[in-house]
Symmetry: C2
Subunit: 311 residues, 2 copies
């Protein structure tokens, strides 16, 4: 018996349960609330989608949790004092969808769609000089699976691509930076800053007033990672003083974004409802199932999330 | 002496003259109005950028005109009763910039940017199901240099690509259609219809009420060719009845688009000021210069525009 622990609406949980059981014909994946206290003590592995920490605590002998999402910051704080290991979803389909979103909204900035949209609102016909993609420098924060897939896509399209990560990486066609000095160096060259970092204590508000100030005047910010990685007030200041030209925000500290938020009607912010790279149900269930079948056969866990670094 | 015949503003003409003379050190490219009537009779070739027909008529013995633009419909009607041949700009840089625009605005439709922009206007957070690029069928009208470069780019990105041209073409990875029946067949499958045809008597208002009706409900139209290829009233009807979901229009029958036009404020039209693929001054001058140097050396003309078909 494998519990599915989630706070998702009932209908969404049902969709997951059906798909997971289809992929795991020798298992019985059930809603966690449908498991008796005695059975709960016997579960070694659970599948989770935004679980409440209290829901996890009901299971006394869990060895590991498999998240169906790539972002696991809430999960990591829920298990930080327990021996439970966390496996996050690493799905090539997800990387491909994210790389597509990165290309789509990089082209959105590159081809000046927000500027032309403003002109349209004012019935104003004006052409602006075309800048070749090779003259646009895009800096990616985070070079994990999503960052690397995105960097390749952007390079293939002809953009000049840089990447920053905690430990220096060596990637073809990408200038890589690491550490504080590396971040300073990269930010000074970013026409577009693209955020794909996991949210960890080290990345919270990494993009703040002083770092935004390092970016060239007229540059743009795209956040497809987690809202809290950017200090929103500092970003608003940078937009309102025209230092940063435009921001595309797909993620927010509190989601859904409150209908009262001033971000919605800001003329230089594109607000998206966390749609850059939705989990693909079928490919996610395939991956989760393969990992669980291997665990049942061998007792081996997939790569788990480091509890110190958070990724 | 080579006349530069143009109605462009003075400053733009100066930029062209400088660049053309740099590429043609053994020639003297001069503004057509600066040439004496006697010298005008001696000119065999002219370089043109939106010339007035009367300006061309002043030259009695022109063999050919080299346009610095790809679209030559005005030029063709100016020379239709004369023996003057027309060479249009065929520039790989232009094809690349157009293919980029095609990808950028196809992704704009594919990733539902207009829909999310409307939600943002209403402070409304709602996610819509992600559809993979392979499930989006894009039909291209016109498979010349621009159409072929665009088709390759879209295929590479994972879209399902179809193309229609007057004579059937055989292209890798693209389903090709031709003729009236082929157009009917392709339109019925187009989630996005992309217009890259030259404007000729045969393509004027090719996209009309009955052809728009053939497209699937909820599909989109992108016009990067010439405004007159689409019947605007028919397109507005199709948008207003929700048969067509969105249109991206970069070209119009009269440009600049009048500030009084109802197109500007239509909620389902993205108006662009003819910016999909601007001529690149340097690469255009290189190509024009090579063609003229070869003509001087050999008397041979590059491929000229067919006066019957108009392309």
């Amino acid at each position: 018996m494998i519990p599915f622990i989630s706070q998702l609406p009932e209908n969404e949980q049902n969709v997951w349960l059906t798909a997971l059981n289809d992929c795991l014909p020798n298992e019985n994946v059930v809603r966690s609330s449908d498991i008796s206290p005695a059975d709960k003590k016997r579960c070694q592995v659970a599948i989770v989608a935004n679980p409440h920490p209290a829901q996890i605590a009901e299971f006394g002998h869990l060895i590991w949790l498999h998240s169906v999402w790539a972002g696991v910051e809430h999960l990591m704080s829920a298990v930080k004092d327990s021996p439970i290991e966390v496996v996050r979803l690493i799905d090539p389909m997800l990387s491909q969808t994210m790389a597509e979103a990165v290309l789509a909204w990089s082209l959105y900035i590159h081809r000046e769609m927000p500027r032309y949209a403003k002109q349209q609102m004012n019935n104003h016909w004006q052409q602006h000089q075309y800048i070749p993609a090779s003259d646009r420098r895009i800096g990616i924060l985070g070079l994990g699976e999503l960052g690397q897939a995105s960097a390749e896509q952007l390079h293939h399209h002809g953009f000049t691509v840089m990447g920053w990560s905690r430990s220096k990486k060596s990637l073809a066609n990408i200038s890589s930076y690491s550490g504080d000095d590396g971040l300073t160096e990269m930010l000074a060259q970013c026409d577009i800053l693209l955020c794909l970092l996991p949210l960890t204590p080290a990345t919270k508000e990494l993009v703040n007033k002083s770092r935004l100030a390092l970016m060239p005047k007229g540059s743009a910010v795209i956040n497809f990672a987690r809202g809290a990685i950017i200090n929103t007030d500092d970003l608003l200041d940078a937009l309102n003083t025209r230092h940063i030209d435009h921001a595309v925000l797909d993620v927010f500290e509190h989601e859904p974004l409150s209908s009262q938020s001033e971000l919605w009607q800001h003329p230089d912010i594109t607000v998206l409802p966390h749609i850059s790279a939705p989990t693909n149900l079928n490919s996610a269930c395939d991956i989760v199932a393969k990992n669980i079948i291997k665990f049942r056969e061998t007792g081996l866990l997939p790569v788990t999330v480091d509890k110190v670094t958070g990724y």
